[in-house]
Symmetry: C2
Subunit: 223 residues, 2 copies
């Protein structure tokens, strides 16, 4: 009997002899979800706890994949979407991996535009607020969210509106993300290269770099 039988686990499986980690991930994930629906994907971390798999030494490289809330991917009968606040019993160290992924997502939401991968193509501020709240685990102010993300150039309004959900309310403006690849959204952008620098950019001082970062390198290839 397989270890952890009866427990749920993250989609995944063994790496083939001549397979890249990313290809392996796609292969295993393709059984569960349409890959074209994945808006953002990155390697999370490699776990190496010696006892993480009772069958023997197995290292696992975890990835974080984000799917837009406008998709509701159909999943096979042995698979389900789970509320991260209400997870079932999980096999191996998968609960810990999910916690780690959530931490990564929460951190990235604070300094990047990564929510583009979670939001519909166009959305109201109310929808975006609910996405941020779900990820962060606490409520946020729609007014501040809108103000900050517009000021940072992370989102912009479209010409579209949708009818307000409240009777007699004004139609709600539809927004979109200005970019659909990952960008650090720090409004100060102080450390970007000087070209195209916004006002608070650290202007080039004219003096060249005098300290170069170093990398420890050893002289013989490893055995």
């Amino acid at each position: 009997m397989a270890p952890s039988a009866g427990h749920w686990s993250l989609p995944g499986g063994p790496l083939e002899e001549s397979e890249l980690l990313g290809s392996s991930l796609s292969r295993h994930l393709a059984h569960k979800v349409e890959l074209k629906e994945i808006g953002f994907l990155e390697q999370l971390e490699t776990r190496s706890d010696v006892t993480r798999d009772p069958r023997g030494r197995v290292l696992a490289t975890a990835y974080l994949a984000l799917v837009s809330s406008e998709y509701d991917p159909t999943v096979p009968g042995d698979t389900k979407w789970c509320d991260v606040e209400d997870l079932p019993d999980l096999a191996f160290d998968h609960r810990s991996i999910i916690e780690s992924a959530r931490e990564r997502l929460r951190a990235k939401l604070t300094y990047t535009n990564v929510a583009f991968a979670l939001a519909p193509k166009t959305f109201t501020v109310a929808t975006l607020k609910s996405i941020y709240e779900a990820c962060l685990g606490h409520s946020v102010s729609a007014t501040n969210l809108q103000r900050v993300l517009i000021r940072r150039g992370t989102i912009e309004s479209t010409n579209g509106v949708v009818a307000s959900s409240s009777l007699g309310g004004r139609p709600a403006t539809l927004y979109r993300f200005t970019h659909h690849h990952l960008r650090v959204t720090d409004p100060f952008a102080i450390f970007r290269p000087p070209h195209g620098a916004p006002s608070e950019n650290l202007a080039p001082s004219g003096s060249p770099s005098r300290v170069a970062p170093s990398t420890a390198v050893r002289g013989r290839a490893h055995r």
Copy 2:
């Protein structure tokens, strides 16, 4: 003869049967540098290119380790510190790993206080500027760097000063990092939990989260 003989390579080596990746890293690195001098360490990524090692299939998990500029670790005769802008021929995919590490460091400098691991305990703005410039690869304004990092609460002045390097100049103030663990330094901090929220925090709106993030979980442990 070992592959890539005559080429330089990053410190590293095989993972033992019952060894954690982190322990293995420490073991291999301990031959090269005093581990207590490492101010920041994180897993970078796992490389899986099938042809990355001509001897056969070898996956490599790379780490980013930062050492303060006030240390000048003595390294064994087969090892040297290299300017990242002037690397020698490197074995395997180690050049690409170094580029990836540098990208990670550059990004982290823009939204975290990670430079605490590179700077001396106390430092002048001129020293900090040279560290930022070395990492970023372009010059920055000392005035803006100082202003932004103080406003963000990333650095603070100490009572110490050092004599100015320019004749007749005022003594230069010594600064220190306010924290020596990694923190996201976004001054808006808009997405922190509501308790202890600074002024631009997204104040709690009173409404609970209505959308929970979901995680795809499948019902059977992987085989």
